[in-house]
Symmetry: C2
């Protein structure tokens, strides 16, 4: 590790300038409060008895307000001013850059607007849930309209002169630029439908070795084996179940949740490997920089690249199934050969539900949401038109129409939560995963290592190229640092073209 | 519920005076941050992977500092000044009284001393653990000496003119007064040894129906049945295992932990019922007052009275075993009659270890610790003399000498944690439990209800007399409100004299 790469926040050329120490203590405190909130959220989703909700809401809100106050603090503003022209090491500059960006966004949004958005999203959740249950978009329309208006106001508070959707996108992916995201998503939307059409026209039928249902305890044993094989550090993590799988934690304690579907053991396995990828990113962050941006993960696209790398480039590879097929026989009693299991994890089948989509059609679900939310936020689309536009695009991209809005534009929680600009990061993560896999293969024989269960070199490569940097680099710089080139969809498109061409005899 | 009894903090005669609303919001925030800390602690003891320790320590410390800042806040000081002469309802006065007391203690201790104590106790824990493992008091002596000195300094910062041990005792039991505690403990120390001697001389041998070991899963099923029977609200709680059983939470979510001893299923059962008592107190606090002292539990003696009431006056009663014996047969395969199980839970057997002690000898363990820590803090005893004094008193009170200091003065964690003044609250809780049981029996047939598994009237009585008041009353006032008299050892001494007289044919 060179001096420039050293992960500690205070490592630079000599002692840091005067206010840097105090500034950094404040930053750490902000992180610790945020991590406490994260634990409260994990507990709520995994352990908390249902009666605990009212108290937990108040605890979360108190920590959220404290975090906001720490981020908008006058002392912090003064330190940021003092440090603007200070002689800082590159690491210190990165810390200041990251905190300044968050501070400036936070101070630009009036407290009153923060409260109104918080209240509106709290109220929206049950309205959305009921509307989805009733497949009744009309019941959600006014709520969605209000949320769009509030988030437009939010974007205008941050920068009234810029495209509001670009401003919202930066909430989730601050440095990449919406133009880059847009170009990549357009490319996927342009190129994937032909491949999917070819697959639909193929006469190949992939293997489907699972039938009936499988006990949760057996499925659990299977995914625990997968985590063992892939190298999950159980002394710094745990596995539980929750309605929606997620990962929570830090480099000291990164916990995974999963879910089990009785008739689809590959769903729980895939989810677990996906979350394992997120967890390995957290666990690979430098421990000595915990509490500072140098010890924190980069944003959503990079995080998703880690989960997608393990889920798709490892877990959906022929080599993985050569390694892992015996475990399926052991725990589920399914005597399928590695080739059949490889096929089973890679069946392409267009459907209306995003979270059930395969590796390929998934991105058209994202492209559709991206186009709709972008137009909503820009004021180019009325909320009332969302169902019709949704169904038309679904027809155009995947050749199907949802049977109702519950299986259509009401299926995702994101908008009810005010999260406009989040969806694109899913596809960007897959694209980056393929780019990382391609770069990795120039350095080491990935398939051989996977087949042999030799995952240390894979972890080491990802830690060296991505994890250990924390937020030292902006996302575009990190992508270039890790892969030698800017973010591009080329590797992803080459990967799926090769893989599915071979699978479906195209 | 009369107006005076209304649990909501803002309920009074008309609108509260000007600063009361802001004051109360601040108080709630302080509570929510404290409850978040409590959850982090629960997670650490129950769920956290071991690798999480360094990050958790920093998160806890950040929340602790934020809580301290909220409590010593200048705005809070100003509000307390403004409210000193304001026209407040009795409930509002109680809220101000509780917060003023905590605020004044917090501001009187210099930050530097808080840090030194925090550091010293952090350092002391591993030193104590090692010393206990090696049964080597000398290795702990300097550490204990430093802790005593620091806590004397702490007491002097709060009030240099008062007995430092009385000041420290108020950390755990603020309103009762050390003189009351001292009188009660002296009474137990004076009277219990004769009863224990008589028992030792008795020719009666109580039944011991358990032999061999019992599976954890069976023991778990047994204690779950106990919680079902007693009326634990699983929608507001959960049961887990931890090294040291404890209860954590609020009126919305009060969680229990327990532990299982393979050859002693009564240990896990008793622990669980004990913690259930703590949990019912939390769950009985008024929900609408959550976040204020009116929605918070009174201090340690009252809390312990709730756990001891259920553990001893219910769980160690003949009626309970008439109800519960079939469950022991079901889960453990032990076909013992209720009388034998009653005897088994009430065997008196002096031993060196406090946490293994029976209901009777337990209080001599406490009396001994009380006398030693009081003399240490007052400067009447040198730390170096602790082992000798411990062993002499153990001989005097229980007729035995520990085989080494690990089984003697090194057995408890409390002193290494700087907790001088905590031990007495255990005995005070038992004494109050007996007083509550006696008062309850004037209103309802406790034994019949227990025998019939009719616990609602018992819960209702305790909620009406104790839980719903939160911190509306000081401890002495609450005791009088609940039982009609001041705290007294009379009921406890009558209870044990009757009970053990009958069991041992005295």
């Amino acid at each position: 590790m060179t001096a420039d790469d050293a992960a500690t926040a205070t490592a630079g050329d000599g002692d840091p300038p005067e206010p840097y120490g105090e500034f950094l203590d404040h930053v750490k405190r902000l992180t610790y409060v945020g991590d406490a909130r994260q634990l409260l959220n994990w507990d709520q989703q995994v352990m908390m008895p249902e009666g605990g909700t009212p108290a937990r809401a108040k605890q979360q809100s108190a920590l959220s307000t404290l975090g906001h106050e720490l981020l908008t603090d006058d002392d912090l503003a003064a330190w940021l001013d003092d440090l603007a022209d200070a002689d800082l090491s590159p690491q210190q500059q990165a810390v200041v850059r990251e905190i300044r960006r968050k501070h400036e966004r936070a101070v630009s949004v009036p407290d009153d607007l923060v409260s109104r958005i918080s209240e509106a999203t709290s109220n929206a959740l049950p309205v959305w849930e009921q509307a989805r249950e009733d497949a009744d978009f009309d019941a959600f329309e006014d709520t969605l309209d209000e949320l769009v208006a509030l988030k437009r106001e939010y974007a205008a508070a941050i920068d009234p002169d810029r495209d509001p959707y670009a401003v919202l996108f930066e909430e989730y992916e601050p440095y990449l630029g919406l133009d880059v995201a847009e170009r990549i998503l357009d490319e996927l939307a342009a190129q994937l439908p032909d491949l999917i059409d070819d697959i639909a026209a193929s006469e190949v039928t992939l293997a489907a070795p699972f039938e009936g249902t499988y006990e949760e305890s057996d499925q659990r044993a299977l995914v625990e084996d997968a985590l063992d094989v892939l190298g999950y550090d159980w002394t710094r993590g745990r596995l539980d179940t929750s309605t929606h799988p997620f990962t929570s934690g830090t480099q000291f304690d990164a916990r995974i949740t999963t879910r089990f579907t009785p008739d689809d053991p590959l769903d729980g396995l895939g989810s677990t490997i996906h979350e394992f990828g997120h967890a390995t990113y957290e666990l690979g962050l430098p421990r000595e920089a915990y509490g500072t941006p140098l010890g924190g993960s980069r944003d959503l696209a990079v995080h998703e690249s880690q989960s997608r790398f393990w889920e798709n480039h490892v877990g959906r590879s022929p080599a993985f199934w050569e390694l892992f097929a015996p475990h399926v026989a052991d725990h589920l009693g399914v005597q399928a050969d590695p080739g059949a299991l490889y096929e089973a994890t890679n069946r392409v089948s267009p459907g209306p539900i995003r979270v059930e989509a395969d590796e390929l059609t998934y991105h058209l679900h994202i492209a559709l949401r991206f186009e709709i939310e972008r137009d909503l936020v820009r004021g180019d689309l009325d909320v009332a038109e969302v169902p019709a536009v949704w169904n038309e695009k679904m027809d155009e991209y995947l050749g199907l129409r949802p049977e109702d809005d519950a299986a259509g534009c009401l299926q995702d929680i994101h908008w009810s939560n005010g999260a406009f600009g989040y969806f694109p990061t899913y596809s960007l993560g897959s694209v980056l995963a393929a780019q990382l896999a391609a770069a990795m293969q120039e350095d080491l024989p990935l398939s051989e290592h996977v087949r042999d269960g030799e995952f240390d070199p894979v972890h080491d490569w990802l830690t060296e190229r991505v994890h250990r940097h924390g937020c030292r680099y902006t996302t575009p710089d990190l992508v270039r640092e890790a892969t030698g080139e800017a973010l591009t969809a080329d590797h992803f498109l080459a990967y799926v073209t090769d893989k599915y061409g071979a699978l479906y005899d195209l």
